[in-house]
């Protein structure tokens, strides 16, 4: 990294009229936020990305034996409607790409739970060439549930703790992905090669959420520049919108 931060080679954002308002720190706002977090913590949809053996503990956890729906947790089939990405077991490098694609499609606030020892440190696949070792190098992980495999009680306990974290407003690691995108992208590029990019315009989203930090842009995000044109053609970025779209947004 150079001394002066000359990185932001990506052009400045054009106002779309749909940017998030900055929070006004009024009493009513705090009450509303607290209420929203209370509700959010009691209605969680999990997208279970069943990569490995830990997936076998989820059917009993979700169905009548342990019945996670008592906690307001229920499975969801699409990433865009899910709140929690549950990664159950070892993550091969090939799978990790799909996990990142899935994760980036989810809408904030989103939480990642790594189940099983393999997501923590590679587990029994510690010396395998094909599996990624630490999930939190590539994605911000809210919580690990260790074990090989953890019993449904442990999954339940983990989800209860996540609920408490959400309620107290501590489960903010999804913001970390935007704030330190360069770090995560760097680790991803280390594994997948310098050409790695996703169809999601993470930097644009970071701008939208007003989460663009000092470490969002850097030497790794510069490599994404050549794909920006493609994003613009597909209308996947808010960096520069087509005039007719802009009118639509302003309406």
């Amino acid at each position: 990294m150079s001394e002066e931060k000359t990185f932001p080679a990506i052009p400045p954002a054009v106002s779309t009229g749909i940017a998030c308002e900055t929070k006004k720190d009024s009493f009513l706002q705090r009450v509303m936020d607290g209420f929203a977090e209370f509700c959010r913590a009691r209605s969680l949809f999990i997208l279970h990305y069943c990569t490995g053996c830990g997936a076998i503990e989820l059917p009993p956890a979700i169905t009548s034996r342990f019945d996670l729906e008592r906690l307001g947790v229920s499975p969801m089939v699409t990433p865009r409607q899910a709140d929690i990405l549950l990664i159950t077991g070892y993550v091969s490098i090939k799978t990790l790409k799909r996990i990142i694609l899935t994760y980036e499609q989810m809408q904030g606030p989103k939480y990642v739970i790594g189940i099983c020892s393999c997501t923590v440190n590679g587990g029994m696949y510690w010396n395998s060439y094909a599996t990624a070792k630490q999930l939190n190098e590539y994605l911000p992980v809210d919580m690990y549930i260790a074990g090989c495999m953890p019993r449904p009680e442990a999954v339940q306990e983990g989800l209860k703790q996540l609920r408490e974290k959400i309620e107290s407003g501590e489960a903010n690691s999804w913001e970390d992905y935007f704030k330190r995108y360069d770090h995560y992208l760097g680790n991803q590029q280390h594994l997948f090669g310098d050409d790695w990019h996703t169809p999601t315009d993470v930097i644009g989203e970071a701008r939208h959420y007003d989460l663009l930090g000092d470490e969002s842009l850097g030497e790794h995000t510069v490599r994404l520049e050549k794909y920006l044109q493609h994003h613009q053609e597909l209308g996947l970025t808010n960096v520069e919108l087509e005039p007719e779209n802009k009118e639509l947004m302003e309406r």
Partner: protein, 178 residues
């Protein structure tokens, strides 16, 4: 055709193949060691005249000291219930062999897999592109010369984990066995 006749046919076929060394491991299990250039003929005879219709698998062994690959063709007869394993050695220098796809169609998958995992190319096999490791650019990972542990050390970082209870055990002389 009765079982007996089939069994006789197998002996005939193996008798006809010069240089084939046959060992009966136990009833229903026969090992044949054969030269690489004669192996397709053996398979053809086994399939055509002795009823070995099913190619269960092709396995590959890397022998680093001999600089050779060993290929094992497992063929199975439904009628006699006998599994014949045909072993042959291929030099690592050439690392090329001939496909048996025209005899056994499933061989296409096994050959593709072996090419990916060992780098042994099969001429005449229909699909020799990447199979499972579509996003892998390193050397064939099943080769003995590929040091997985070294690759892992170079590629990944470790999370430090040294809790108090582990330190106590280490202080007593126990702990993780290297």
């Amino acid at each position: 055709m009765s079982k007996e006749i089939k069994a006789v046919r197998l002996d005939e076929v193996l008798g006809e193949m010069e240089g084939a060394v046959m060992q009966r491991k136990r009833p229903g299990r026969i090992r044949v060691d054969i030269e690489a250039d004669a192996l397709p003929t053996l398979l053809q005879l086994l399939k055509g005249r002795a009823g070995y219709l099913h190619l269960s698998s092709i396995s590959c062994v890397d022998w680093p000291e001999d600089e050779e690959f060993e290929l094992v063709y497992h063929v199975w007869s439904y009628e006699t219930g006998v599994l014949v394993s045909a072993h042959t050695r291929i030099s690592k220098q050439s690392a090329r062999y001939i496909s048996v796809y025209d005899l056994y169609v499933p061989a296409g998958f096994f050959e593709r897999d072996i090419y990916e995992m060992y780098g042994l190319y099969f001429e005449g096999s229909p699909h020799m592109e990447k199979f499972i490791l579509t996003e892998w650019n390193g050397p064939p990972p099943m080769l003995k010369s590929f040091d997985t542990e070294e690759f892992v050390r170079d590629t990944f970082d470790w999370k430090e984990y040294n809790p108090d209870w582990l330190q106590e055990i280490v202080a007593k002389g126990g702990g993780i066995v290297e």
